[in-house]
Symmetry: C2
Subunit: 185 residues, 2 copies
């Protein structure tokens, strides 16, 4: 039987990075204006806050470099049910995530997050790589509009996970997790 | 120009896991007989010590589950020079490693080990995955005799990194790092 391999990104797809960043920003700059989640225009939280408000990039990066940031991210609604349904229906599902360059807490917290939020059986399905073009699969569900690497023509079909900052693009899109069958079947 | 992608395993190939395990064993069981490095027969240290001496597997696993185990591993001679030469000569080199199921210290220590022993430019070349058949590449240099996963016919050619426990196999083999050109070119 033909088995479809589905690669699923983590931040912005199953873990709510933008919300976590915004909450971290509010703690660090309690009286500062925020960029509302629905108004986010750029894939990079750091770039957007820096460009809009002139805040130092290192201070912004400290928000996600902090211990507990990745572990504390909320699950994106429907992600857990969708991933478990995929597995039950015979898809080979892997979590394919590019760790932050500040790996100190990020990498182990990504594993702990997965164990705590999805269950220990998901630990072996994790792939950490900066370059996702090197990973084989039929579909990559990712919120990042531009995924590049050493392979110019990756195997997978990129399905955008819908986020305010990628809505300007005309591309295969997963609007929310309840619709996963429409893009995977 | 055609660029060759070389995937390089970590434990037993660039980081001396067997030596680290043996030293950890000697600390934990100071008066116990050890299996000398040249006499190792099995890919799994835990299985071999368990079968030979009847030591509880969990106690054996605690050796590499301990904080600092992976970070403390010695570089396998010639690995650093070979990896840097490969990059200089135009190969695309990635470190492709399967983390221990006890990920608590292992995953972040693998990143720190790489930064400290190979340099920060190698951090972005790391790929952590239990299933290496999912990674694209021309060559995989790995000491593990049997690499399996969801892809039955992986893209890469498996070159065995020579170790006492894989010497019984007739397969393309890298005898030591100074000979890397013979298997990569």
């Amino acid at each position: 039987m033909y088995t479809k391999i589905v690669l699923v990104d983590m931040d912005g797809v199953i873990a709510d990075f933008a919300r976590g960043f915004t909450e971290g920003f509010q703690k660090k700059f309690p009286n500062h204006e925020i960029i509302k989640l629905e108004d986010i225009k750029s894939f990079s939280r750091v770039d957007e806050y820096h460009e809009k408000f002139g805040i130092d990039k290192e201070q912004l990066k400290d928000i996600y470099r902090a211990k507990g940031f990745f572990l504390g991210l909320k699950m994106i609604p429907g992600a857990k049910e969708a991933l478990n349904d995929m597995v039950r229906e015979g898809f080979k599902v892997f979590i394919c995530t590019a760790p932050s360059e500040a790996y100190k807490y990020c990498v182990s917290e990504k594993y702990t997050w997965t164990e705590q939020n999805l269950g220990p059986e998901w630990i072996d399905k994790m792939i950490l790589t900066k370059d996702k073009t090197l990973v084989k699969g039929h579909i990559l569900i990712d919120d990042n509009p531009h995924i590049t690497g050493v392979i110019k023509d990756p195997e997978w079909q990129h399905v955008l996970f819908d986020q305010p900052y990628n809505r300007h693009l005309i591309k295969d899109r997963l609007v929310d997790w309840s619709k996963w069958r429409t893009v995977c079947e």
